[in-house]
């Protein structure tokens, strides 16, 4: 086997892994192609829903069981974390942030279960970023009013107004690209390592790229979203 052949083979395999395959088409509006990422998201949603229903049964005010205690401490930890950033008065946004964090954590780790992580698809990260953008601007308008939102672009001096306006798009763009790039890069690096040394070496690297990086990116995404919201609500 020539070296060129094996490289080409690897490239093809990587490209195939990276391409978002269309699973099926919904036969309306001239056919809507439904990607793998969306289907995997549906699977994640189903799993999360079933787990929620299973674990959240039989909640007790007194003498909670071990499962309930664990669940409560996780939720408390999450809500304390977000309330610490956006303030106790804005706790209504906390469930959304926790939902995104949970979804991202599961989506980034689902590669371990053999699925293609949805976050490797630009559609998904873009959708998440657009939702974050909407939330960031909505929280600012809801808190300080539309007039203040319009005026605040010209502060502290009107010269910065173009930059402030660009920030509306730059913030979600950076969120989107950071998440997408990290997941894609991690995946590519892992594939290359596996192609070069398929034995033992990928294990510690897999812990870093598949597990740690995935959780870290989930954390960074919701952390920055909360931070931007807090900035907007000042």
């Amino acid at each position: 086997m020539k070296e060129g052949d094996s490289t080409e083979e690897l490239t093809n395999e990587l490209l195939e892994q990276l391409t978002c395959q269309t699973v099926f088409e919904i036969p309306i509006f001239g056919g809507i192609a439904v990607d793998e990422a969306v289907v995997v998201t549906w699977i994640i949603m189903a799993v999360l829903t079933v787990l929620s229903i299973v674990f959240v049964r039989n909640l007790k005010v007194e003498n909670p069981g071990k499962v309930q205690l664990a669940l409560e401490s996780v939720i408390t930890w999450g809500s304390d974390f977000f309330e610490g950033i956006i303030g106790k008065s804005n706790r209504r946004y906390v469930p959304w942030l926790m939902t995104v964090a949970l979804y991202l954590a599961v989506a980034n780790l689902i590669g371990l279960a053999g699925f293609k992580p949805p976050t490797k698809d630009l559609n998904v990260t873009a959708a998440l970023a657009i939702m974050s953008m909407i939330l960031i601007e909505y929280s600012g308008i809801h808190k300080n009013g539309l007039k203040h939102w319009c005026v605040h672009f010209a502060k502290p001096v009107p010269v910065v107004a173009p930059i402030m306006l660009m920030e509306i798009v730059i913030r979600p763009l950076s969120l989107c690209m950071r998440l997408f790039g990290n997941m894609l890069g991690g995946f590519v690096v892992m594939e290359l390592v596996k192609a070069v040394v398929p034995f033992l070496v990928p294990i510690p690297l897999s812990f870093y790229f598949d597990i740690f990086d995935g959780l870290l990116q989930a954390y960074v995404f919701v952390f920055l979203t909360a931070l931007f919201m807090n900035e907007e609500m000042e």
Binding site: L71, S79, T99, P118, L122, N123, I130, M131
Partner: protein, 166 residues
């Protein structure tokens, strides 16, 4: 990989649906249960505080009552002492009056007896004098000598009282 199409919208819809599902099945129930527990705990603390306050109030009431009882008992003792004193005084006074009365009656009896004795003596003296006079008269016969002897006798034996009585 690098294409943006309708899947973006699908993903956004998915996210919103996931949010609604998780809020209904995960966050709301757990937050509710934790709020309930918090309310229960704060209720319990409040109840404990209330009962403590009540107990303290009762305690102060009892202390007040106890103090009142002490005062009342000391008042009672004081009153009893005063009554006893009054009784004592009265008895003492009665005894004094009785003693006075006894003394007075005794003195009266003594006076009466002395008067009686005096009267007896006077009558005896008179008879003696008569006897003596008769004797003198019989010895010397009637005359001035007898008369002077009688006067002399009277002078020697008589009492100023007797003269006034005579």
């Amino acid at each position: 990989m690098l294409r943006i199409d309708f899947n973006l919208v699908l993903t956004m819809i998915n996210l919103v649906i996931l949010f609604l599902i998780l809020r209904k099945f995960l966050f709301r129930p757990i937050m509710n249960i934790m709020e309930k527990r918090e309310a229960m705990i704060s209720d319990g603390l409040k109840n404990a505080e209330d009962s403590q306050n009540q107990a303290l109030e009762l305690k102060s009431q009892y202390e007040e009552k106890l103090k009142g009882a002490g005062e009342e008992s000391s008042q009672m003792i004081e009153r009893a002492r005063q009554e006893a004193k009054a009784e004592y005084d009265r008895i003492l006074q009665d005894a004094g009056a009785e003693a006075d009365r006894l003394m007075k009656s005794a003195r009266e009896t003594v006076d009466i007896e002395r008067e009686q004795a005096l009267r007896d003596m006077k009558s005896q003296v008179a008879s003696l004098a008569m006897e003596a006079a008769r004797k003198v008269l019989m010895d010397e016969g009637p005359g001035a000598g007898g008369r002077t002897a009688y006067d002399q006798f009277l002078k020697e034996a008589g009492d100023p009282h007797d003269r006034t009585e005579e």
